[in-house]
């Protein structure tokens, strides 16, 4: 599989289409391997001696399998989509896309920290170069790289801590080391785009080509989740880590959701949605940590871990679909804002419109879709925080519950806006640029089927993963089709049964009705007796303004009205902080450069000597 990705990368220099097809084949193989590892207990390790006592290699276990399974679904869709989409970009994109996926596969297969870091850097650098593929995106790409290298630096410190304790880089079965846990966690949290390290997401996603955005938002941030799960497996689930994770995660989810609710950019909204979803995932990891620490007999820890997996799966698949569908529309209409792509169902096609609807509804926890199952499970886990014994834990978990519930609500608001304005909005007669789209649409259909199918078979998925005690039969639902959130039973849901009932009562009769209705007269909706002018459409900005005004303290909303022009300005306070930081850094570096780089060779030599000695003292 690794070799295939490498071949795919090399093929990219000669033929883009073949390169993407190879990436698709490699991703399909990855999917099969992951199914074996995640569901059927397959495990394997290939280790070789690199130098001295340093061993490197690859490992496949259940954790690898789980995250490879989720990632490979995204890889398959992105590579398939790129067969058409990539034709609009250079051959370099094909090379880098293969390398990006390769980097992530290496991360997931890593048996040791060095291999992990190699994979991490391959992923980071290729992602950076992929963002640059879009014209005029150097600033955003550099911001992505800055945050990514912050992650890398943190991982290097964690690797040093690992080496100091174990005299090697191999991931141990268990190791208690605060430095390792702290820096590794920090690195992965930054990669997940958790507050306040989320600003790169918004910038990079808006500028990157859409297939790259799908990779950055779904599998790349998933590597952060995987890293945390792997690190916690080594360090053990620590109570204080759990508290911090819940706080950071819930705050991040809330801010991500309100960011999405106010977003006007076609790809900025899904970027903020990623911040929200990853916040939810981090919170649930916190729940796992606290539950494991307090009561080993409780099923909450296991259930919360399933929630992490389901949220990761729901987010990765739906976000990939959202970016691909939005990306196709954005590319064919050559527009950046939600307002300007109204009526995708007519101008671009029904498949991308349906893709936006399905993925958006999944993020809105609409019944019958995977997001619904994941968010129901998340809320069930939160409800069970009564099991936490200390008051502080209960306060933290309850507050987090409130924030996460609000986040879910705001996310629905955001998705309704996106769906309503882009996919099914009033058509504004904009002509789409013709593009080959059979592969693009196939990949979107595939993802839609996965989103619906995984919802229907969610109970079977959990059962096959080995969490059989959460799958029961009751209330007329056959054994194996009802998900229980605890033992003894706390709450139950049967997505499959729900879908059957929903189809029987509503969807099928509706389809029959629509098919058998004799004549349909289509008329333009009544607008006060006059036809609607372009300037009279209710804008996406207007849709968001209510929330921007109500939460004006958080958004720092400013209504700018200057003579005959007006607009609403909202500020991401974290971006403001980074802007100030950048300004200070520029001033300091400029001053230092004047002192050091002033064409006087002896000063420059003294400077290099000083740095050399400083590095020795610090890292000695």
């Amino acid at each position: 599989m690794i070799i295939l990705y490498l071949i795919g990368a090399i093929a990219g220099f000669f033929n883009r289409k073949i390169s993407y097809i190879i990436a698709f084949i490699a991703s399909t193989i990855a999917l099969f391997i992951s199914i074996k590892a995640a569901f059927f207990g397959y495990s394997n390790a290939v280790v070789f001696k690199a130098f001295d006592s340093v061993y490197m290699g690859f490992l496949v276990d259940k954790t690898t399998g789980l995250f490879l399974f989720i990632s490979s679904l995204s890889f398959m869709a992105v590579s398939l989509f790129s067969i058409d989409f990539g034709m609009r970009y250079s051959k370099r994109m094909a090379v880098l896309l293969n390398l990006d996926m390769l980097g992530m596969v290496i991360i997931l297969y890593a048996h040791d920290m060095l291999t992990f870091l190699i994979g991490w850097e391959v992923m980071t650098i290729s992602s950076y170069l992929l963002i640059v593929e879009h014209k005029g995106s150097f600033k955003e790409a550099f911001q992505f790289l800055s945050f990514s290298e912050l992650s890398t630096l943190s991982l290097i410190i964690a690797a040093i801590a690992l080496f100091r304790q174990t005299s090697g880089f191999v991931f141990p079965k268990h190791m208690e080391n605060t430095t390792f846990l702290f820096f590794a966690s920090f690195a992965f949290i930054v990669k997940m785009g958790i507050l306040p390290f989320h600003t790169w997401l918004k910038q990079a996603h808006a500028k990157a080509p859409s297939n790259v955005s799908a990779l950055l938002s779904a599998p790349v941030t998933l590597m952060g989740v995987y890293g945390l799960v792997r690190v916690l497996g080594i360090s053990g689930y620590i109570h204080s880590w759990g508290i911090v994770a819940i706080i950071l995660g819930s705050v991040s989810a809330f801010f991500g959701a309100i960011g999405a609710a106010s977003a006007k950019g076609l790809k900025v909204l899904p970027a903020y949605s990623t911040v929200e979803n990853n916040g939810m995932i981090l919170s649930m990891l916190g729940f796992v940590a606290i539950a494991r620490h307090l009561n080993h007999a409780s099923t909450l820890a296991d259930f919360a871990f399933i929630v992490v997996i389901m949220l990761s799966l729901a987010h990765t698949v739906a976000k990939t679909l959202l970016f691909l569908s939005v990306g196709q529309a954005k590319e064919q209409l050559n527009e950046e804002n939600i307002d300007n792509v109204r009526g995708i169902h007519r101008s671009v096609g029904k498949i991308p419109a349906l893709g936006i609807v399905i993925s958006g509804l999944s993020f809105s926890a609409f019944p019958g879709l995977i997001g619904y199952v994941a968010e129901w499970m998340m809320l069930e886990a939160i409800f069970q925080s009564y099991q936490f014994s200390t008051l502080s834990d209960r306060i933290v978990s309850s507050t987090a519950g409130v924030l996460l519930s609000l986040a879910a609500g705001f996310a629905s608001f955001a998705m309704i806006k996106l769906i309503g304005y882009s996919a099914v909005g009033y058509h504004h007669n904009k002509k789409a640029i013709p593009m080959p789209k059979s592969f693009m649409q196939t990949s979107q259909i595939l993802l839609m089927l996965i989103i619906i199918g995984f919802s229907f078979f969610a109970s079977r998925l959990i059962y096959t993963l080995g969490y059989k005690n959460f799958i029961i039969g009751a209330l007329g639902v056959p054994q194996g089709w009802l998900i229980a959130s605890a033992k003894p039973v706390f709450g139950v849901i049967s997505p499959a049964f729900f879908a059957i009932v929903l189809s029987g009562l509503f969807i099928v009769p509706l389809i029959v009705y629509l098919k058998t209705s004799r004549t349909t007269k289509r008329v333009v909706s009544f607008n006060g007796g006059l036809s609607l002018q372009e300037s009279e459409y209710f804008t996406a900005n207007a849709f968001s303004f209510t929330i921007e005004y109500i939460l004006r303290i958080l958004y720092r909303t400013k209504e700018i009205i200057q003579n005959k022009r007006a607009y609403v300005q909202i500020i991401d306070i974290f971006e403001t902080f980074y802007t100030v930081l950048i300004r200070i850094t520029r001033v300091i570096s400029y001053r230092i450069s004047i002192i050091v780089m002033n064409s006087k060779i002896h000063i420059y030599i003294a400077y290099m000597l000083f740095l050399f000695i400083a590095v020795f003292i610090i890292f000695g």
Partner: protein
């Protein structure tokens, strides 16, 4: 001095109760409402606003909430109203043009047709202008009956407006009581004048009223007065109601003067001006004022005026005798101006005659100024304030569009 209209290049001016037309380019620069009055038939209100996310929330011409055919172009980026301008063209009937070459009697029919709920005011202003031009001096009885009709018109309009504000604020019980009062006031109109909207009362040189036992009418008016005062007190004690109209669409005194607005909207901004106080028939006339200039102040002024009008009618109704009937002969002057203090402000008719027929007409209506005031004061509010802001000015498209 107030500019009431621009007639070609002449200015229709008012100085207290003196009205005149003057052609002076230096004067027109001193009036801030000159341009707005010059373009009153194209668009009234603020400029269109552009910007990211800004759109024109077109309200009308046929939609619930807009009772007449008219368009409000409301520029907003969501909730916040940035600018409003009004398109009157859907209601425009060109009444002034239709009046040309008509006899004074035919012209009266058009004047009454401008707007039904101000038809007494329009007819009175028109007949006063005609009577001036034709040198007709109506008798005291005619004057009294005209004043009674004018005040009856004021009463039902003010009650109706109060009801609309109450309905807008979802004060259903209050609104139902007010609608019942409104119906009572219309029935009194019918009893007294044979028409619910008093459209047949005013005639040139004369007027019409049913001679009868007026004691029942007085009783009914006193009952309306009592209920109206009670309902106002109740409304002012309702936080939910007051909250919707307090500090809504605030019209500052300076702004009111610049726009040229008259009537209760002007008096609610603290300016003590009512031309009825110059008429001898209104003995010791007391002008109702409020200071805040908001929708609440305008409501209070109106209801106090309605109560005052009831007292006035009760005083006058005892002295009613059959009106005189003076025939129209030949015109004595080429041009004349007549006015009336309608429920929403001054209605002024400028008429020019040639061979006993109308040669030129200019009608200054209170709604033109009211629309401008509404546009200027509604900016900055949110759309849910719309009905409170709009209704508080007591304006309508028919009156403004003519």
């Amino acid at each position: 001095m107030r500019l009431l209209g621009v007639i070609n290049e002449k200015l229709l001016l008012q100085d207290e109760n003196r009205f005149f037309v003057e052609s002076n380019e230096n004067i027109q620069k001193t009036f801030k409402n000159y341009n707005f009055l010059k373009n009153r038939d194209t668009v009234i209100g603020g400029n269109p606003i552009t910007g990211e996310g800004v759109f024109n929330f077109r309200y009308g011409p046929i939609t619930s909430g807009v009772r007449e055919a008219g368009v409000f172009n409301i520029y907003t980026f969501g909730e916040r109203i940035l600018s409003v301008n009004i398109d009157l063209s859907y209601k425009k009937r060109n009444i002034e043009k239709l009046m040309i070459n008509k006899t004074p009697q035919e012209g009266l029919t058009f004047a009454k047709a401008v707007v039904t709920n101000f038809c007494v005011s329009h007819a009175l202003a028109y007949t006063r202008a005609v009577e001036k031009a034709f040198d007709i001096n109506v008798g005291k009885n005619t004057e009294k009956i005209r004043v009674i009709a004018l005040e009856l018109e004021r009463i039902y309009n003010h009650i109706h407006l109060f009801g609309k504000l109450a309905r807008g604020a979802a004060q259903q019980v209050l609104a139902s009581h007010l609608e019942a009062l409104y119906e009572d006031s219309l029935r009194i109109n019918e009893e007294l004048c044979g028409d619910r909207f008093l459209s047949n009362v005013i005639e040139i040189g004369s007027c019409k009223i049913k001679q009868q036992d007026f004691s029942k009418i007085k009783q009914k008016l006193l009952s309306i007065k009592e209920k109206l005062e009670e309902l106002l007190e109740h409304a002012l004690n309702s936080y939910n109601f007051v909250d919707r109209i307090y500090q809504t669409a605030v019209l500052e005194d300076k702004q009111a003067i610049e726009i040229g607005i008259t009537g209760p909207s002007l008096r609610a901004s603290g300016i003590k001006e009512d031309l009825r106080c110059f008429e001898p028939i209104y003995k010791d006339f007391h002008i109702q004022t409020q200071e805040d200039g908001d929708a609440l102040s305008r409501l209070i002024v109106r209801i106090k005026e309605a109560v005052y009008s009831i007292n006035l009618i009760i005083d006058l109704i005892n002295e009613i005798e059959p009106p005189d009937n003076i025939e129209i002969k030949n015109q004595k002057t080429k041009e004349a101006i007549g006015y009336a203090e309608s429920p929403s402000g001054l209605v002024v008719y400028y008429l020019q005659f040639e061979n006993n027929k109308i040669e030129q007409v200019y009608i200054s209506t209170p709604s033109v100024f009211g629309f401008k005031a509404f546009c200027d004061t509604f900016a900055g509010h949110i759309f849910t304030d719309f009905s409170f802001a709009f209704d508080s000015f007591g304006i309508n498209f028919a009156d403004a569009a003519r």
